[in-house]
Homo-oligomer: 150 residues x 2
């Protein structure tokens, strides 16, 4: 429902949620990333209601995460990731890793990712963008930044 508006909060997490925090949005992004670019494909694969799919796609396009482009002279479009949207795939990869670790159980992960660079099936690991060492929950101190208390 989320009637509360997260976009005005002085928090990058809240603002990000305003873009992809609604139900289905991350799954729509996942599918588009995986090459399901058309309305009918997305609707069939997700089982989402057409109404909600329309709303989500419009929102993601408005936010500059997806781009709607015609692929025919008939009114047909497909949705592709913008650079901003491709950057969001980082988030999907971290979700995948967490789900693989904590929720996959005995059967193992449903999807594997092969890293082009090394050729191995692997997941992501978080590193400090500055020094390259691991960076997780207990490795950082949060402090107010320039855009604080909006």
């Amino acid at each position: 429902m989320q009637r509360t508006d997260f976009s005005k909060m002085a928090c990058s997490i809240a603002r990000t949620l305003d873009v992809i925090g609604e139900p289905w949005s991350p799954l729509v992004l996942r599918d588009v990333w995986a090459g399901l670019n058309r309305f009918e494909q997305l609707q069939a694969d997700l089982g989402i209601s057409r109404k909600v799919l329309t709303e989500r796609l419009n929102h993601l396009v408005d936010q500059g995460v997806l781009e709607r482009r015609p692929y025919d002279r008939r009114p047909r479009h497909e949705y592709v990731l913008t650079e901003k949207g491709a950057d969001l795939v980082d988030l999907l990869m971290v979700m995948t890793r967490w789900g693989d670790k904590w929720l996959a159980g005995e059967t193992g992960p449903p999807v594997l990712y092969r890293h082009h660079t090394c050729g191995e099936f692997s997941g992501v690991d978080l590193r400090c963008a500055h020094c390259g060492e691991p960076m997780h929950a207990n490795d950082v101190d949060p402090l107010p930044g320039p855009g604080a208390t909006a």
Copy 2:
């Protein structure tokens, strides 16, 4: 609303959404991580309805992401991250980085994170857990894994 059940899908992203995909959940997690551990603190800081906060906390406890522990002989509790929950902070840090990059605008990020190891203000970067090289949207091929098609 999310009446559709994501937990049964053969996708670690969908399963993860079942745990923290509901509105407010990531913000609750952020606050608990930041040291706001009690019901009243969370309610006041977030402005969330008490009803929904109760629901979210129960769900996060049920999922093993938070632990409810008494801090007084009166019926008083506080919520703390489990190991499973601390691992989810990775997700928050990636959201922070994305929001900082794409949504913060002129004023700059509202919160900065100092990395203990190097002492610098920095964000996270994604690396392959196997070879240590960068790993982003276009660096991987998805393939069916052992737990596919549940």
